[in-house]
Amino acid sequence: MAVASDVPKESFRLSMLIYDTRFRSLTIQVVVLILFALAVAWLLNNTVQNLAIRGKEFNYAFLWQRAGYDIQQQLIPYTNDSTHFRALLVGLLNTLAVAVVGCVLATILGIFVGVMRLSHNWLISRLMTVYVEVFRNVPVLLWILLAYVILSETTPEPRAFRVTDEMLAAGQAPAARMWLWDTVAVTNRGMNIPAPVFDRPLGTLALGPLTLNLTFLALLAVIAASVWVNRRLVAAARRQQEETGERPATWWKSLLILFVPAIALLAALGFHLETPALKGFNFQGGILVAHSFTALTVALTLYTAAFIAEIVRAGIMAISRGQTEAAYALGLRPGRTMRLVILPQALRVIVPPLISQYLNLTKNTSLGIAVSYLDLRGTLGGITLNQTGRELECMLLMMLIYLSISLIISGVMNIYNRSVQLKAR
């Protein structure tokens, strides 16, 4: 009406920038932007001044210098002659190793505990409640430190495993024994486990900085191929079932397809396990798993599993009782009711908080510093930083890497989340 046409006639006054809703949000944004720019400029100016005072300059050339320190656990070849960048990669892989193993184990344990906590069995549900409450309400650092101390201070020294001729003659047993049919030895230096060895390996293929392990690739290819063939087999069986109403027996064919090619390849490559054995003062052969890795993984798994258990429980409880009853009314058995009716709906509630637990676990791997586990923080943010004195570069790069890992995990899980979300409406 008239009001609308009156507005343009009004001359612009400065106070309108604040009191007129048409301009106010613009004013606020400009003020915020100016303040933000000023703050950034102030920080940058300080940084430049501080760098100048210390006589440093901001560059990443140090990454290509010789690192000069050893890393206990390496998933890719590394010596102390390698570059700092190589050390960074080793650290990153160590971080990811704990994160992946921890997430998988924590999910399995968490689902188990969560379901058990809903059990009608009074004793079991109480036990699980105690587990969840104890692990949730105590800092994860305590579990890491405790696991590490127990592993490294209560386990025997390697020489406790020794059997001498005198002891044999006297019929004495050694002070410590290996586990699992003499294949695993837990000492105060680490856990010695059997290593897979190939007598006739296929060798490696060098592609620039990357080296590909052909043996491993061949094994992977064979397994993938058998899984694919097995899927075709099951699909064919289902087609036949839908056409004729009778399902051909496939289980023995599946077993053959899945296992025979892989076993044949392993036999052809001369696969066997090399068990650790006490030679001199220490165990030789096999793989030495550092206690820092075990302690960190176990502690993070137990801690995160308690949170995942609560998420799973809440997810299952969020599905109304009517769904179960409806499934029973349709004649589904309890197992199928869970698998076909409850879980698909519960997953929708479970997945988003589960993602943030995975993120938390991944970020908590940085607590490996407490047990001197050389992860990304230990290499790039620890020894490299101390040796080169490049705090600014190292910290920024490290934050960037952690940030990318977090964003990738949440991105991937969000895609999955979208695929299980309600499609209706």
């Binding site: 106070s15 604040i18 009191y19 949000s25 606020i28 944004q29 915020v32 932007l33 933000f36 920080l43 300080n46 940084t47 001044q49 501080n50 760098l51 005072i53 059990s119 009608h120 069995n121 009074w122 004793l123 079991i124 036990l127 409450e133 104890v134 949730r136 309400n137 105590v138 800092p139 994860v140 650092l141 305590l142 430190l145 405790l146 101390v149 127990i150 201070e153 993120l359 970020k363 908590n364 940085s366 607590l367 510093i369 407490a370 923080r377 943010g381 930083l385 705090e391 600014l392 910290m395 490290m398 934050m399 952690y402 940030l403 977090s406 964003l407």
Partner: protein, 482 residues
């Protein structure tokens, strides 16, 4: 049909029979809860075996516990003498000898009354926030704080003056709670300065002058509000307060201190440790992160592009990196980002970074609460003619915060547990810092269960208490009828 009398009809009621044994009492309970099916029976047996194993290995250890010894070796001798060779036993003597380091770190023993007093007054200060206007609860809180403080201060052998001050202060506050409970909020507002003075000591005038900055902000904002409008007045007030803090308050505090040198014996930050440190960092970061988190959540919900982008960037950045890297930023990088030769306390730096960390998580929790509100609530606020801040204060926030209480409290619990990470920047947290010192002592070398159980139990009590309180709060505030 003709009447055909049955051969026998009972004319008296039978007394009721007791139900079959299977359907009552212990047997029924056992059958329903432990052995309702084969699977359940197996589970029960497995559970019982696990329980038995735990008890078998842990019970003698607890029962053989030794409280009086001066070293681990002596402990073991006592246990071997009383329970036989090879018996295990806890050596609680280490806790008996070193408990004060777990609680106070290296805070001077003669001054322990200061953190104790600050901790007791903390409850008096949060009372008006949690139980606004409830006279009875507030008076009870002040009374119980008084009693608790009286006993603990006596145990810590505080000087007599402290008791006099305590009686006067809490008496006045109790009277205030009876007459004008709303005015107790002023004590809450003054508490940070009081707490700082008690914990760190130093001149009485430093915290007073810092508080005066807020007073200047309020005065300037109120005086100018009539002339230039509230938003500009508040902005000018902030500018005036910043100028005061940066340039004026130091010299003024110095001048007052030379005239009237009031103050307490200063305690350095590196003497703080144990749960004292954890609680100082935790409580400060918790109380500062809530307002910052609310602002960030509002910024993220805002339809102003720049404000929204900055909020999202800040939240996602903080949530994407581990707390440890932020703590290292506090200890290593702030020297690059601040003007050359700036020195400020490491505890303060850590508190600021932990506050940012918690605020980002809180912002996401509160955003969830905001998203759960129906659109109609916003529209109703608009229809009533409320402006943005009025609508937030009166309509949106009370509901959104109520919905997000479980999330907020679990963030707080996480924050309190995360205070242990300050060990990595050289502060003495109870878990790694103090325990390491104790374990490095030649007398206690090789001890691990006892200190970890002790610290873990205290953490458990505090965190479990917080989560139970949040459940209570949730039930109490539940107003929907479902």
């Amino acid at each position: 049909m003709e009447s055909k009398t049955p051969s026998f009809v009972r004319s008296q009621m039978l007394p009721p029979q007791p139900p079959p044994t299977r359907e009552s009492g212990v047997v029924k309970w056992l059958h329903e809860n432990l052995f309702s099916s084969w699977l359940n029976g197996i589970l029960t047996v497995v559970g019982l075996i696990i329980l038995a194993l735990i008890i078998k290995s842990a019970l003698p250890w607890w029962l053989n516990g030794v409280w009086h010894a001066s070293s681990l070796g002596e402990c073991r001798e006592i246990i071997a003498a009383s329970a036989g060779e090879g018996a295990t036993g806890a050596c609680w003597a280490v806790i008996r000898e070193r408990w004060h380091q777990f609680i106070f770190g290296f805070y001077p023993p003669a001054l322990w009354w200061r953190p104790i007093l600050a901790f007791g007054l903390l409850f008096v200060a949060i009372g008006p926030v949690l139980y606004a206007g409830q006279k009875r609860v507030l008076t009870t809180m002040i009374g119980s704080a008084f009693l608790g403080l009286l006993i603990t201060l006596w145990l810590a052998s505080a000087p007599a003056m402290v008791f006099v001050g305590l009686v006067v202060l809490l008496g006045a506050l109790a009277a205030l709670a009876q007459t004008r409970p709303g005015a107790l909020l002023w004590f809450t507002a003054a508490f940070p300065a009081l707490c700082f003075l008690l914990l760190w000591g130093g001149s009485f005038w430093t915290p007073v002058m810092a508080m005066a900055g807020f007073a200047i902000l309020a005065v300037v904002a109120r005086l100018l509000a009539g002339r230039v409008g509230a938003p500009v007045a508040v902005g000018l007030g902030i500018v005036a307060a910043v100028i005061w803090w940066l340039y004026v308050s130091g010299p003024v505090a110095g001048a007052f201190a030379s005239v009237a040198p009031l103050g307490l014996e200063p305690v350095k930050s590196d003497q703080f440790g144990g749960f004292l440190l954890a609680i100082v960092i935790g409580v400060t970061a918790i109380s500062c992160s809530l307002p910052v988190g609310i602002l960030l959540a509002l910024g993220r919900q805002s339809n102003m592009f720049i404000v929204k982008t900055l909020s999202v960037g800040f939240i996602e950045f903080i949530r994407g990196v581990p707390l440890i890297t932020l703590l290292f930023t506090a200890s290593l990088l702030l020297q690059y980002f601040l003007p050359p030769n700036t020195q400020f306390d490491i505890i303060l730096r850590v508190i600021i970074l932990v506050t940012f960390f918690a605020a980002a998580y809180l912002a996401e929790v509160i955003r969830g609460g905001l998203a759960a509100l129906p659109r109609g609530q916003y529209e109703a606020a608009d229809a009533l003619g409320l402006d943005y801040w009025q609508a937030q204060r009166l309509i949106i926030m009370p509901q959104a915060l109520k919905v997000s209480i479980p999330g907020i409290v679990s963030t707080f619990i996480g924050l309190f547990k995360d205070t242990t990470l300050v060990a990595f920047v050289g502060l003495m947290d109870p878990l790694k810092g103090v325990t390491q010192i104790v374990r490095a002592d030649i007398n206690w070398k090789g001890i691990y269960w006892e200190p970890y159980i002790y610290v873990g139990a205290i953490f458990f009590l505090i965190c479990f208490g917080m989560s139970r309180y949040s459940m209570y709060l949730e039930r109490k505030l539940k107003t929907d009828h479902r």
